[in-house]
Subunit: 480 residues, 2 copies
């Protein structure tokens, strides 16, 4: 580059939860910080999320709700739930620092109501601050003492906006210079000093910005980049994408251009359009009418297994009693696609071969009579024989089968990527030899976080905020 | 580098099937060729393989055995069988050029006996030159006119050695200079000219070799590199590896060091230790006693589905009649791990919950009475109710459950990687922007071939020889 138009000690790219936390921590460390955002508004994809943060180990909210917890139990749960291929080293740090991180978020102004939501659902309609994320389901309840760790900022429904409103306020309070409408396109790399700045586009003009200490990339993943999906995660192409158009993988590619290694670019999460409270009370079967998972587990696991291991075919089967037990506002606007007097009729209407679904229900009921589910270990509280009139829903059902036209416009699966740039637990970006790239940091969806081929809601914002803070601190203290 | 110790127009790294074919074609194009091999013997991992080549579209062997075929049917089959994520562009070229490639191999001296082997098995004990590779099984038989395309050099049992003996002779006849005991460690890259040579180690000394036209990397995959497996394909770590210690990913990493993009590093194949002829006559169930695939399909598909989609749990259940029908030499030395008078007893002995396996067998038998398998579409010729005494085998069984101590020393799955360096269909290595890296070519397991998340025996040697030839030709005609 010919010269510098502007700059700061630390440049943070992206204003979602990871970028905001990186900027706050870097500024609090006493260096000048510039936070660049390509759009006019701050908050990134995080602001559109459900807002849950996966936290535990004994937070104030957990204590107030009567759930003891330890970092060790949180670690054991996450290693199992984020795998196969989970990043144990990262999870260890994440679990050990979770209570302090919760306190930091509270200090920053994030409100958590110390009350507990008990029913399975994606996003509770209340302001309750704590919920299960599958910790009490098989196989996790046998691996660690179960404690609910889904922490939810106090607003009804989706509340990512609230989290990002608070963090964006904290960014300003920390003295960070925030600059919108600035699209970072390239990194400036010096053979002797590493990454020393960025080249960005601002209202059509190119600006070259110097980073005295370092650059933190926190500009999202690549769910909006079909070329990258085709290359790394082709099975996602046909499904509804979770993210914004700005999750175009640009930050990952910029890092690769200076030698960054990537990790787990093939991994992904898939949510499923079945109401969790109805799943727990029914059975979920695949395209050959066989069950494949305990229906009371974290519902994202059902989606991930259905999409990646059952060829994307899944049906939720329930009886009238189960359906009636689920409150209207937890049904996600869905009505049964099929209803029949008997399982045999339902089997025929759904197009299954004769006896296939009947046999599955018979085996389930045989054990459910005793309150047991020896095949998939659903908790006893949800195990009851399916009797009388039965109904079913197809994951691939479209809006015609719901009473809320806004739902199910896609394939029934909502997907996003989990992989990204490979970093140390301090957020330093690594090259393919495993060496640190001087002056370059990454966090949030731009980086590969605690996830392998597993996912739990709250781990995106949890990982993003936790390791975002670390990346900001590491960049601030970096001296060339 | 300070200077050159030696060199040739084209340097080929690795003497397996891809490297040998690249060297032959480059030499026949009239340039000087040096073939480098790290060991003292030539033939690479290819020489240890079964030796089958996936070829079709109407070869002389297919015609002699009475099976008409077309490139279009071969294409349709491969796109389905090599997916999801198969490389359609590459498959198109591969299918279109397959008859000519078969003729080229015959001209090179590879003997194919024009006789057909009909029974399902991994490696026939005869010299028959043609066998099914699942083309006649669901869903493939509905997608394309089935034709057997497994072409086998004429020797009994594993015959990769024969293929490589012939190709190695052809390499010498073409005037290629072959150099053993030479381990290539780095590429020599010039900012203005691209890849211009290699740095190798020979009996402890470093030698710098100039490549006037280009370098072809054909030095195998990364199944022997646990660090790369942990990063890209962690699920393979616990299983028996197919390959040699030399499949250490070195060639892939050398290419990455000069900017090469990689593709599908997460994909893999897994064979399963069940006798295919017995699978076709029985049923294969997962850890919850449910069937999950048509048991008469290419047996590698059963393994891949079992390992990657059924958590690695699989059991083969059969009756006495089915077991007796399988010739001794097709039983792979395996004896039943469990034998019982009834399915109910077998279910209990195998540790399945009551009714789980019985229900699966009842549904299977219900339709088998009519010669049908509406759930998984096994061919009618293999569909018959399981009756009388029954037996079963566990994929995880160790040598204690076989009568041949040489079998089943691992987990029951034998795995290898499918991904590698991203190339054009001419073998030119691409960087992450999709641009050709000047002077660098790759083929065989070092590159990402026709495979996505699917595999059929014969496609490794088929892809390696076919695209190896192209890489050699492209390197030969490359002028800086």
């Amino acid at each position: 580059v010919a010269g510098w138009d502007d700059g700061a000690d630390v440049i943070v790219v992206g204003s979602g939860c990871a970028g905001a936390c990186a900027a706050i921590e870097a500024a609090r460390a006493g260096v000048s910080v510039m936070l660049l955002e390509r759009t006019s508004g701050f908050g990134g994809t995080s602001a559109l999320s459900g807002g849950a943060l996966y936290l535990g180990g004994g937070t104030a909210v957990q204590a107030a709700c009567g759930f003891p917890d330890t970092p060790e139990d949180m670690f054991s749960f996450l290693v199992a739930a984020m795998g196969p291929g989970a990043d144990e080293r990262r999870i260890e740090e994440y679990a050990a620092g979770s209570v302090a991180h919760f306190d930091w978020l509270v200090d920053a102004g994030v409100p958590f109501k110390p009350s507990f939501w008990a029913e399975p659902t994606w996003t509770p309609p209340t302001e309750d601050g704590l919920m299960w994320m599958g910790e009490n389901s098989h196989p996790f309840r046998e691996l660690a003492r179960p404690a609910p760790r889904g922490h939810r900022p106090a607003a009804a429904g989706h509340r990512g906006w609230l989290l990002m409103e608070v963090l964006t306020t904290a960014v300003a309070a920390a003295g960070v210079r925030t600059v919108g409408d600035t699209l970072v396109e390239r990194l400036v790399w010096d053979p002797s000093a590493g990454v020393v700045g960025v080249v960005a586009r601002r209202f059509g003009e190119e600006v070259v910005l110097r980073a005295g200490h370092g650059v933190v990339l926190a500009a999202g993943g690549f769910i909006a980049n079909n070329d990258m999906l085709a290359q790394f995660a082709p099975r996602l192409l046909d499904h509804s994408k979770v993210g914004t158009d700005n999750d175009d993988g640009r930050a990952i590619r910029m890092a690769q251009a200076v030698g960054a290694a990537t990790k787990r670019l093939e991994t992904a999460q898939a949510s499923i359009n079945f109401p969790p409270a109805l799943m727990a009370r029914g059975i979920v079967v695949n395209g050959s009418a066989a069950r494949f998972i305990n229906e009371d587990t974290y519902p994202g696991r059902v989606g991930q297994h259905a999409l990646f291991h059952q060829g994307g075919r899944a049906f939720l089967v329930f009886d009238e009693q189960g359906y009636e037990e689920v409150a209207e506002d937890l049904r996600m606007g869905r009505i049964p696609q099929w209803t029949c007097e008997t399982v045999a009729e339902l089997e025929a209407e759904m197009g299954f071969p004769e006896r296939a679904l009947q046999a599955t229900v018979e085996v389930y009921n045989f054990h459910a009579e005793r309150g047991e589910d020896p095949l998939f270990h659903k908790q006893a509280k949800w195990v009851r024989p399916l009797r009388g009139a039965v109904g079913a829903m197809d994951v691939a059902a479209r809006r015609a089968h719901t009473n809320d036209g806004a739902l199910d416009q896609g394939t029934g699966f909502r997907v996003f990527t989990l992989g990204g740039v490979h970093t140390t637990v301090q957020g330093e970006v690594l090259d393919r030899e495993g060496d640190v790239i001087d002056g370059l940091y990454a966090a949030g969806r731009t980086s590969s976080g605690i996830h392998g081929w597993g996912y739990i809601s709250g781990t995106s914002l949890g990982d993003g905020t936790f390791f975002g803070r670390r990346a900001g601190r590491a960049a601030a203290r970096h001296v060339r």
